[in-house]
């Protein structure tokens, strides 16, 4: 009996103490936030003044007069607005004030969000020790998001380890992240071959291979068209679809035959990618297989095929009208819908 009363009193006391603590903490936070906002305002004013006067000493004094956290955040936001000589000057001032070292410490000891942000700032500040700090984060950080951010930053600094090693350090779970698409798109031209080799490896996660192919198609173009053509019949539908999309961007002498073959693939994603690429490349010789795809069981494939026919111009439109005027079928319905797309008459 008394135990129940004691428990009630204990729960009440815990609740009261927690709330008093939260309220006191919040009051202190409000005060600190006001002070930080004022310091931030002063630093931004000094940064704006610096872009006119180029008085590096005055800027350094302003940077050193505020806490490191305020200087890092306000400084990074400001330099992301600058370009050219102004950018270099502010960067030099920041380096002289030791901000990169502070950011390096944040990369080691901050919370998850701060560590990701620190990796991004280090690549923007391009300091001497940035690469070492980022390599250490890629190697040791416990969060895969931080490791991916470190890999992207290292790529920007031209110091990413060989891709296989970098991905192994990112970890298996991290190799499903769409952030890796960002990493691959930032690859320097000198390392495109490495990206291609990785995309060709059948022991690599299909998502990674597809992302690498997408990136290569966007940034490297026709140079890898042969590789895309060979990857178009990959066992993995994800990779094959990516290769077909890439062919749609770069083109290839064998593209019509490859796309026609892919239109018979068992996977609907591959068929849709083939139809889409046929339309993008404008290959009227594929009108017949595209017409057949308009009877596909998957709407996405039918829509892609019809759109491809429409992109062929008048011959394609004529074919669509013929199909729309034929007997009621899936093809006929798709053709009618595609022809009607747009503002109502």
């Amino acid at each position: 009996m008394w135990l129940i009363w004691d428990l009630s009193i204990l729960l009440s006391a815990i609740s009261l103490v927690i709330m008093l603590f939260l309220i006191a903490r919040r009051v202190l936070q409000e005060r600190r936030a006001r002070v930080a906002a004022d310091q931030r305002r002063r630093l931004l004013t000094a940064l704006i003044a610096f872009t006119e006067s180029r008085d590096r000493e005055a800027l350094k004094a302003a940077v050193l007069s505020v806490p490191a956290g305020v200087a890092i955040n306000a400084g990074f936001e400001f330099i992301s607005l600058l370009r050219g000589e102004e950018y270099d000057d502010v960067l030099a001032a920041f380096n002289e004030c030791g901000l990169p070292a502070l950011i390096g410490r944040q990369l080691e000891k901050g919370n998850g969000a701060e560590r990701i942000h620190a990796a991004e700032m280090l690549s923007a500040l391009r300091s001497e020790n940035a690469v070492a700090s980022l390599l250490s984060a890629l190697d040791r950080d416990r969060s895969r998001e931080v490791r991916i951010a470190a890999a992207i930053a290292l790529c920007d600094l031209g110091s990413l380890p060989p891709l296989g090693i970098a991905l192994r350090k990112v970890g298996v779970a991290g190799q499903r992240s769409r952030r890796l698409i960002e990493l691959f798109r930032r690859f320097p031209p000198a390392r495109f071959e490495e990206l291609r080799d990785h995309a060709a490896r059948t022991d690599v996660v299909p998502f990674i291979r597809a992302a690498a192919i997408d990136a290569l198609a966007r940034v490297a173009g026709f140079h890898f068209a042969d590789f895309f053509a060979s990857a178009a019949d990959d066992q993995s539908p994800e990779v094959a679809a990516a290769a077909l999309r890439a062919l749609g961007l770069t083109g290839h002498a064998e593209a019509p035959a490859i796309l026609a073959g892919a239109m018979k693939n068992d996977d609907w994603d591959v068929r849709a990618a083939a139809a889409d690429s046929a339309g993008r490349l404008g290959l009227p010789e594929l009108a017949a297989p595209l017409s057949r795809l308009m009877d596909d069981e998957v709407w996405t494939v039918r829509y892609a095929a019809a759109n491809a026919l429409r992109s062929f111009g008048q011959p394609g439109e004529r074919l669509l009208r013929d199909i729309a005027a034929s007997e009621v079928s899936r093809s006929q319905r798709t053709a009618s819908l595609i022809l009607a797309e747009g503002p109502a008459a």
Binding site: L11, R26, E114, S143, S177, A344
Partner: protein, 475 residues
């Protein structure tokens, strides 16, 4: 005195008492578990990154999203809501408003505000729904489409939207709700970080009553001035920051709110979309997704993340709130009995045991046991079966435990979101956490028992949910 009563009555009273105590203890254990798991989940979550950083980080790889907005008699809010949705900070999205046969001038207001014109857009009728009367697009923005269809209910309207949308992800949001500008970017984050496994993500719903709202944006956050919405603020904190965060951590999240949830279209189509006519279409969909993914033996994640915030208008009168709570109760019961084969079924793992067990204890047994307790415990005391000391001690324990749980959910709010701008707000919410135990909690349980009764009688109506309009939210 007990000896005066017949053996059967005492036995019945004892059994009932044990039922009430067992249900109460089970609920207590669940809340305790949720608190611990939610606290652990928050400790693992990195503090929130700024919106500008998110854009810089994820902007290029963010997947396209269709925002589906079912609107039924939303003339008051719809134009402001659509304006705010079009102004969301996300690189690749479209807004599809589905006018579900509104009786007011919802469609007309949209046509006038956005100069809508009829438009043909091919789509496949994968999911069944009431006929579409017309599609509209706006020459003012490529992002906006309006679907005008015959009335079929919220689930029906959402299914029509799913058919019409082309993005691989869609986000459902109520027509009278307001998303924070970065909410889509934050909600999309799990789809970026783990695109293969993530199939649904829910965000936090907050109460906007009392806040200053201009042009479809929450400009200044204030606590509601009226008591009823204020009480609901604490309730929502418990529901979202404690329960959903905890269950999300162990992948047993059973509810992604229909007021704001993001889903992968392919899986939703595979399970047949929202169940038409369901009172709890959001709960129903998530249960179907769990069942489908488990049956298919696929690894998946259904996540709740606290940072994306959607603001909504809470009922301000007892009658409207009563209807809402009874409907929610019917929705929970309907889903529970529809998918009862999943309860404690090893095939569904922790979803069957924890997720469904939670629904069983908290939603099915909970209100009945608690309301029985309100009547029987005092009756037993009057009859001399229960001693006055125990009655007072247990009552006090129940109340202080309730306060403690609410206070702990405020800790979670402070640790993660800190959306209440002033320290004074915390003091007010603490007082509310105490007050809600005296009257509001009991009332809520009566409404839920009423929902039980309506469910047994096969009542299907939604009831009128009059809106004052968030733009005109009381200050």
């Amino acid at each position: 005195m007990i000896a005066d009563w017949s053996h059967e009555i005492v036995l019945a009273a004892t059994i009932l008492s044990w039922f009430i105590i067992a249900a109460g203890l089970a609920q207590t254990a669940i809340y305790l578990l949720q608190l611990v798991v939610a606290g652990y989940a928050l400790s693992l979550r990195p503090p929130v990154a700024r919106s500008a950083l998110l854009w810089h980080r994820y902007g290029d790889v963010a997947p396209p999203i269709a925002l589906l907005v079912p609107a039924y008699n939303e003339a008051l809010n719809v134009v402001d809501s659509v304006h705010s949705m079009l102004a969301l900070e996300y690189p690749n999205f479209e807004v599809i408003v589905i006018n579900d046969g509104s009786k007011d001038d919802t469609l007309q207001r949209l046509i006038e505000a956005f100069r809508l014109v009829k438009f043909h857009r091919p789509y496949e009728e994968t999911l069944a729904h009431m006929p579409i009367r017309g599609l509209y697009s706006s020459p003012m923005t490529e992002r906006l489409f309006v679907v005008d269809k015959e009335n079929g209910g919220k689930a029906d309207a959402q299914n029509a939207g799913i058919n019409v949308c082309r993005a691989p992800l869609f986000c459902v949001i109520d027509g009278d709700s307001i998303l924070e500008p970065d909410a889509l970017m934050r909600a999309a984050q799990p789809f970026i970080d783990d695109p293969e496994r993530t199939i649904a993500v829910g965000g936090t719903i907050r109460i906007a009553n009392g806040s200053r709202i201009e042009a479809g944006r929450v400009r200044e956050i204030h606590l509601p001035r009226r008591v009823l919405p204020l009480l609901q603020v604490v309730e929502y904190l418990r529901a979202f920051l404690m329960a959903r965060l905890a269950w999300s951590r162990i992948n047993t999240l059973m509810l992604v709110s229909g007021a704001f949830g993001m889903f992968r279209r392919a899986e939703v189509v595979a399970v047949g979309g929202f169940t038409k006519g369901s009172m709890g279409e959001d709960l129903d969909l998530v249960i179907k997704l769990h069942r489908y993914m488990r049956d298919e033996k696929r690894t998946y994640r259904i996540q709740f993340i606290p940072e994306p915030v959607c603001w909504t208008e809470a009922p301000e009168t007892l009658s409207v709130l009563a209807r809402q709570r009874s409907r929610w109760q019917r929705g929970a019961l309907e889903c529970f009995f529809r998918y009862r084969a999943m309860l404690f079924n090893p095939r569904y793992g922790r979803v069957g045991f924890l997720g469904f067990g939670h629904i069983f204890i908290v939603d099915v047994l909970g209100p009945v046991a608690e309301v029985l307790g309100y009547f029987l415990i005092p009756a037993f005391w009057l009859l001399g079966i229960l001693s006055a000391e125990y009655l007072l001690a247990f009552t006090s324990l129940i109340f202080t435990y309730g306060v403690c749980v609410s206070v702990c959910s405020l800790v979670l709010e402070e640790a993660e979101l800190q959306r209440f701008p002033r320290a004074r707000d915390l003091a007010v919410l603490t007082a509310v956490a105490v007050i809600e135990n005296f009257g509001y909690r009991q009332l809520n349980n009566f409404w839920r028992v009423k929902g039980w009764w309506q469910f047994l009688r096969g009542h299907q109506g939604w009831g009128e949910m009059p809106r004052t309009g968030l733009g005109a939210a009381k200050k």
